[in-house]
């Protein structure tokens, strides 16, 4: 039963990681960029929601809704200023440029907000604490269920977007062959900007969940990035639903690892990640021609 509880908690934790990882996966799928500032962007989203909650007293969810348009615009701006240039430059450039960006964001947050940890747990209504005690050893938290539900909805909506809408086809087409996409009338620049905007928005949703389920501070970004990246790699680079699976696998590894020793949880996740890399000998065999964004 204790094990079952760990599994349930692992799935909930994994759903959170999946949401965190979703944006990273999109950006990699469409532009082949790994945004090293991804975690910091999620934390930035959390801080924006935090400020709104502080100023207006609304619930964290309402604050997020208000923060969402800001994050979407930020995503557009990020693409058009930093990422677009690094796309043309080479494989290392996006990594280097986003790493620098990560440091800038972390330290700007530090200057604005101080190193104190914050949380939005108090502004999430009853969700933070409510849970069903199925048995004495198994409890299902309302927040966990919410995050899992949201994760499934987000991934589902993305899937629908990519397979049923013209903008979604355009995004998949651009991901597969940007040059040919231009030749059929698709503006690849705006496709990329849209992808980044969506990625940033979903990242900030991850930041919201981080803020509600635990605490955050300006330096929390890198940790979230590592978890997000691990989820993407475990599930298979370039596969959207794979990221959901990968996130859950990571969550399970961490909670089950904690069963052995509480200090092992993060380590267990790292070991799963490294094992997957070793087994795959290259971290997910993707050939550009068989990119499976929506399948």
């Amino acid at each position: 039963m204790i094990l079952l509880n760990a599994v349930v908690q692992g799935i909930f934790l994994g759903a959170f990681y999946a949401v965190l990882a979703c944006g990273l996966s999109i950006m990699f799928g469409v532009m082949r960029i790994i945004n090293l500032a991804h975690g910091d962007i999620a934390v930035l989203g959390a801080y924006i929601a935090f400020v709104i909650v502080e100023r207006t007293g609304v619930s964290a969810f309402v604050a997020f809704a208000a923060a969402l348009p800001i994050m979407l615009v930020l995503g557009y701006v990020l693409q058009l200023t930093v990422l677009e240039r690094s796309l043309k430059a080479g494989i290392l450039t996006p990594l280097l440029a986003t790493f620098g960006l990560s440091i800038v964001i972390q330290n700007l947050l530090l200057l604005t907000f101080s190193p104190d940890v914050r949380s939005l747990g108090g502004a999430a209504g009853g969700f933070t604490t409510a849970s069903w005690h199925v048995t004495s050893q198994l409890s299902v938290s309302a927040l966990g269920v919410l995050v899992l539900a949201v994760a499934v909805v987000v991934f589902g909506l993305l899937q629908l977007f990519l397979s049923r809408t013209r903008a979604g086809w355009a995004m998949r087409a651009t991901a597969e062959d940007a040059d040919a996409a231009e030749l059929v009338g698709i503006d690849s620049r705006s496709v990329y900007a849209r992808a980044t905007a969506i990625a940033v928005a979903i990242a900030s949703l991850g930041g919201l969940f981080l803020a509600i389920r635990s605490v955050f501070d300006p330096a929390s970004g890198p940790t979230q990035l590592i978890f997000a990246f691990e989820a993407v790699v475990i599930g298979g680079l370039g596969s959207l639903w794979g990221t959901l699976v990968g996130g859950i696998a990571l969550g399970l590894a961490q909670t089950l690892g904690a069963q052995i020793n509480p200090e092992f949880s993060v380590l267990a996740g790292h070991l799963l990640f490294l094992t997957v890399l070793v087994v795959r000998f290259g971290g997910g065999r993707i050939t550009l021609r068989t990119l499976r964004l929506a399948r």
């Binding site: 013209r166 030749l183 009338g185 698709i186």
Partner: protein, 242 residues
Amino acid sequence: MTVLQVEELDCRYGLLQAVREVSLQVEHGETVALIGANGAGKTTLLRAIAGAHRPHAGRILMDGVDITHVPAHRRVALGLALVPEGRRLFPGLTVEENLRVAAAGGRRGRWNLQSVLEAFPLLQPRRRMPAANLSGGEQQAVAIGRALMSNPRILLLDEVSLGLAPVVVGAVYRSLAEVIGGGSTVLLVEQDLTRALRVAGRVVCLLEGRVVLQGDAASLDRDRVVDAYFGLRRPAVGGAPA
């Protein structure tokens, strides 16, 4: 009426000059064939006209309007569509998605998903298949259909016979005849000289990036064309006799 005009176009890849001082004109309703050996610059020229390659010098005009600096995706909206060399379909998208994604330009005309599938009936049963699973001839049909979806005024075709069995090439060109016959303006690149001369009203021959011969397909002496194609009887550099 001149629909497409290319003036003194110069295209480079780094230091390599692929297209040199090329000028040509295409009138409304014409079919012009661009011929020449491999490396003559035909694909580069088509790509430059379509906007996929930025020229080093020169101008491209469509209906008298300078489009040299207009990005490729906007040229599609203006009515210029390229069927790229090697087809370049989106492998993960289905036939239907490949076609529909190209209709975003919003140009009105006879071509839509329905009419394209009618023009290429072999695609009907395959419309939900990923494009990567199609045969060469089927892919070529999709590539042409995809370009048609934007209802172009000018259709550019780059080596539609490339990599296809002769039987299939024949079928592709028969489908094309419908399109060509419909009064569209077509500029096509074709390696097969006979076919090019048969299909086109006018022929432009490129050699090492330059135009070495232009003329009506009917009146051109075939031997002359072959000479120009291979660069025979050129005045040699340095004064040595031919």
